[in-house]
């Protein structure tokens, strides 16, 4: 469930656009007004506001936001305001430009979006960058990472609930064999993880656990420094328990462990309209405090206020 809170009666986009434009006028910027509008509009509404804004003021709303805002607050507002497909295309493109932690962003987008949404990302990528997502991912990765990431971003998984039990059993066996041989990037592991439907994968991994006494990720903890193994475990988690994957990412980001400084912004902005409520539940279960509490503790100012609004703190 989404955490996004939209008021019962939403002002027309013209009014929102006018208010936003007012927020930029004069000395300083009325950040509170920006938050009160944008953090309480869904993707369709935000798209309309951008359209109307451009017609009324001859400028892309995002460009004005970029001019007027700064730092983390600006980043979360910009990323949030984008249409989800465009946003993911932007995040993916950024990820192909940098180093290792960005493999995670690509994996995250490929694994946690629905088949349909992932394809919309690929379409948005064509439109915005004049090349294909898989072309860029392939070009900017090598070896095992390329072997895993290209099929992940190119997948168009079947979305039905049907499960073939015999197949789940035999593929659990294959996975176990390969993992026991430490052949972590074997073609068969890649095939199963990058082509099977999520329902089928869940069944396969359940069988794995039943047959071999361990969840698959336990068997993949072999080498603490192996970056590929880390990514593989994250892939599996993201495909089968996305809320757990995102909870962990948030927890590490808030405690400032690891190098993914963006993660807090990214997870809140990309999941607020999707499953942030589930992620919050998982966060509370795992950490005994609410996500709201930890965000308030670790962030400040307008950035904090925007994040809290997006995760549904307070009213619409």
């Amino acid at each position: 469930m989404a955490s996004l809170k939209v008021p019962a009666s939403v002002p027309p986009p013209q009014e929102d656009a006018e208010q936003l434009n007012k927020a930029f006028k004069g000395w300083g910027t009325n950040e509170g007004l920006i938050i009160s509008i944008l953090a309480h509009r869904n993707a369709a509404q935000r798209n309309l506001i951008r359209q109307v804004y451009a017609e009324a003021y001859g400028q892309d709303l995002l460009k004005d936001l970029d001019k007027e805002l700064s730092n983390d607050f600006e980043r979360v507002v910009l990323v949030w305001t984008l249409d989800p497909a465009e946003r993911d295309a932007y995040l993916a493109n950024e990820a192909t430009k940098r180093f290792t932690s960005s493999n995670w962003v690509l994996m995250e987008i490929a694994c946690s979006r629905s088949s349909h949404d992932l394809f919309k990302v690929r379409q948005a990528y064509h439109a915005r960058y004049k090349k294909s997502l898989e072309e860029d991912v392939a070009y900017h990765t090598t070896g095992d990472f390329r072997k895993l990431l290209v099929p992940l971003v190119s997948a168009f998984r079947y979305e039905g609930d049907e499960v073939n039990t015999m197949l789940a059993k035999s593929e659990a066996k294959i996975l176990h064999e390969k993992i026991s041989d430490k052949a972590y990037s074997d073609d068969e592991i890649i095939r199963i993880l990058t082509t099977r439907s999520k329902a089928q994968l869940n069944a396969t991994l359940n069988h794995y656990n039943n047959a071999f006494g361990n969840a698959i990720n336990k068997n993949l903890k072999e080498d603490a420094d192996n970056e590929f193994l880390k990514l593989l475990r994250a892939t599996i988690k993201c495909l089968t328990y996305p809320e757990k994957y995102f909870e962990k990412l948030l927890r590490l980001a808030i405690k400032k462990i690891g190098t993914d400084e963006w993660a807090l912004t990214r997870v809140v902005a990309t999941r607020a309209e999707v499953d942030m409520e589930r992620i919050k539940e998982e966060y509370r279960r795992r950490n005994s405090v609410t996500l709201d509490h930890d965000i308030a503790g670790e962030t400040a100012g307008d950035y904090e206020r925007m994040l809290l609004a997006l995760i549904g703190h307070g009213d619409a």
Partner: protein, 312 residues
Amino acid sequence: MADLEALAKAFTGLGIDEKSLIENLGKSHPEHRALFRKRTPHFFIEDERSFERWNDHCVRLLKHEFVRFKNALVLWAMHPWERDARLVKEALKKGPQSYGVIVEIACTRSSEELLGARKAYHSLFDQSIEEDVATHIHGSERKLLVALVSAYRYEGPKVKEDAAKSEAKILSNSIKNGHKKNPIEDEEVIRILSTRSRAHLKLVYKHYKEVSGNIIHEDLDDSDLIMKETVECLCSPHAYFSKVLDEAMGSDSHKNTKKGLTRVIVTRADVDMKEIKEEYMNLFGVSLSKKIEEKANGNYRDFLVTLITRDN
């Protein structure tokens, strides 16, 4: 009066000459048919109990020829997405000698058409196309084929000159060292052929010619058939289609190869049949319509010719 020659012709080639059969067999007397059975030994065999019986194998072949028209019609009426999904599924079932069809569909359809086929595949088979391809194919061509059916190529004109140059070199080196490492398993070759846009690949082929002196698919022989077909489909689809058509109408073409005639005509009649006809004339010196009229029979023949001459 049973015209034995006409009868023989009615059963030769692709499809069946219904009119001739009605005329000849339909109007025949028992003694004419007895003569027909005696004089066409490959259709009938002398049974030990002194009668000529139908050769079962022939009856099966005839069944294929009779059903050719029906198959063409059904395929023609089908939504292109369903059509392509079913063709891929059939190719997977038939095995390695049909994998060229998978290459054909993945590489000659537009990005949106291929996406459509992938959607239809979900509906028809409760699986994704890449899942099925990956499960059924075990040989060296698996990686390339999975990548090809998963592609969503950029369709615009923008190209990268420097990348094209270096990628031409990569392809050239990989092909030159083919005896050491099979190019079809080379991750760089797969990357280039399965992710780059068609416009970019055109540029890559141009540079390839400059670097190696040959057109890329001339450097590949039939032992690299899948890769050769990939390159041909991506860089010169009309020549590729012309070759498939010509092979289908060849005198000793295999059962699967013959299906190429229906498949190419039906799937391209609305797309680029004009260009294919031109290329066919270029390559083989005879018009496609004429060749079809020569090699095919009856309703099947008339149907195909109608499809390719609609805009004349």
